[in-house]
């Protein structure tokens, strides 16, 4: 992986503008997200495949279902796997080959969020207990990295699941014959959660970072929140990078996450289930 080169002058410009005016190089406020764009129908051959963009950061995500043997400790449940590819087309820093630590972390954070929340109703994905279940694959491919891939990929994963169609099971030949036009995979709609990654850049807590801001940030904290009777409830967290979080920053982060969640969650829900 080649290193991202960041001139000191640009670093200072970003930090000064934030510290003094609370603004970012692209004119956004510290807590402002880039415009969200979602497109469905990227591939007809899968259960779903979508495109999600925040500004210029773009990922494709698709869902596939396959026949599989259940795990011995959950014989009546389907299985689930998320993988992420930081494809070299997306950035100068990504290389061909085995997923690096960034792709692994991203896939695991998203995988845990979906798995632990019980968003997919795994029991309804059982065909024959102990013998045959559906395995759900979520595959995320980064197309262009202009910062905040974590949030874009996380959102793409839940939207792709929301739109995923049930496979048509051919019992005689024991295979899948394409996907249903109408039936979607079973989801627990109530536990949907949405994740936001906040970075510390300069002295400020910044949402939806650009590539440059991401590069110079001291730490990041990803917070996923779900709906608990109209109020946000934390469902997952992951801190990244070597910087430490003091009490004051934590307060700011929690407040910001709560207000952003309240603003964004209805839109997210609309994209996932709409």
């Amino acid at each position: 992986m080649s290193k991202f080169i960041m001139p000191n002058l640009q670093k200072e410009a970003i930090e000064n503008l934030l510290n003094k005016e609370g603004k970012r190089l692209d004119g956004r406020n510290a807590d402002e997200y880039r415009e969200l764009f979602v497109e469905d129908g990227i591939s007809k051959n899968s259960a779903s495949a979508i495109r999600v963009r925040f500004g210029k950061t773009e990922v494709l995500a698709g869902v596939h279902l396959a026949l599989a043997t259940p795990y011995p400790d959950s014989p009546d449940q389907g299985t689930f796997m998320t993988s992420a590819e930081m494809h070299p087309m997306a950035s100068q820093q990504f290389d061909i080959g085995r997923p690096g630590i960034n792709a692994i972390e991203l896939a695991r954070v998203i995988d845990r969020g979906i798995r632990e929340s019980g968003f997919i109703d795994m029991k309804k994905l059982c065909i024959k207990e102990g013998e045959k279940v559906y395995q759900v694959f979520v595959d995320i491919v980064a197309i262009n990295d202009d910062g905040n891939l974590l949030d874009v990929a996380g959102l793409a994963a839940i939207i792709a699941l929301g739109k995923a169609r049930m496979p048509i099971y051919n019992e005689k030949e024991d295979k899948i014959d394409g996907y249903s036009e109408t039936e979607r995979i079973p989801l627990e709609k109530d536990v949907l959660s949405y994740s936001m990654t906040l970075h510390k850049v300069g002295d400020k807590i910044v949402a939806d970072v650009s590539k440059e801001e991401e590069e110079i940030s001291k730490f990041r904290l990803t917070i996923a929140m779900g709906d608990n009777a109209g109020k946000p409830r934390i469902t997952a967290m992951q801190k990244g990078k070597a910087g430490t979080i003091n009490t004051e920053d934590m307060e700011t982060i929690l407040k910001l996450a709560e207000s952003k969640w309240t603003e964004m969650f209805p839109k997210v829900k609309e994209h996932v289930f709409g």
Binding site: E105, T235, Q238, K239, A242, T244, I245, N246
Partner: protein, 238 residues
């Protein structure tokens, strides 16, 4: 709201009580620094090797030494054998551990070098990453490397509606009733009590989360005492 069903812990511990801890440094004679840290049945060992010249050369940093962490569970550490070698889980834990330790270790005095930290888990009963970090922080100090502060790590959790520290395997992964189990590994710096690592999976309100951090601070102070005591005793036998 449903009644809270988790009111008593199987091993009789208080909700805020850390399992019995033992810590020791100098367990690997050939290493530059080494330590073991045990809490209940969870055992971690950590070995520090370096600063040593980093190869390949293009990975060197002329301004500072770099810290490289490798975490792994031993094949016999859990009931189902773990295939040796890295997997997605161990690679992620290695990375978050590296971040946490990097926040206190200062390697600017050792340009172009690497300090390798190897963490291995011989026996697991939940909380292996935090036990590993407790051991690794001691091993780094034992190696005599410059550190701005110590770090201590603890798993805090919410079992049904009860907040607890230092989850065991049952609490961490076998409790599914009521609101289930929420696991929150935290690493705090010793002096300023800043958060160096934070992960969370489960369901928890913002107010409860704030309480979790406070409980983490208290537990980390207990752990810090054990770490410092072991460091003072050096590699001596009891």
């Amino acid at each position: 709201m449903a009644k809270n069903i988790y009111t008593k812990r199987d091993d009789g511990r208080k909700m805020t009580e850390v399992r019995p801890m033992t810590a020791k440094v100098g367990i690997v004679p050939s290493a530059d620094g080494s330590a073991s840290f045990e809490t209940g049945k969870t055992k971690a060992i950590a070995v520090v090797r370096g600063p040593r010249t980093l190869h390949p050369q293009h990975m060197q940093n002329a301004k500072t030494g770099i810290l490289r962490v490798n975490y792994g569970m031993m094949p016999f550490s859990v009931e189902d054998r773990i295939r040796p070698g890295p997997n997605r889980r161990s690679e992620e834990i290695s990375k978050v551990t590296e971040w946490a330790l990097n926040s206190v270790v200062d390697l600017t005095g050792f340009p172009n070098t690497v300090v390798d930290v190897f963490i291995q888990i011989p026996q697991a009963d939940a909380g292996t990453r935090v036990a590993g970090i407790n051991a690794a922080a001691m091993a780094l100090a034992h190696a005599g490397l410059p550190m701005k502060q110590m770090v201590s790590a603890i798993g805090v959790g919410k079992i049904d509606q009860t907040l607890v520290v230092d989850l065991d395997k049952f609490e961490d992964s076998e409790f599914h009733d009521g609101e289930g189990s929420t696991d929150i590994p935290i690493v705090l710096t010793s002096r300023t009590k800043e958060i160096a690592l934070l992960q969370l999976d489960g369901k928890i309100s913002v107010d409860e989360f704030k309480e979790v951090i406070e409980m983490g601070k208290v537990a980390c102070d207990d752990i810090l005492k054990v770490q410092m005591e072991a460091l003072k005793n050096g590699g001596k036998d009891e």
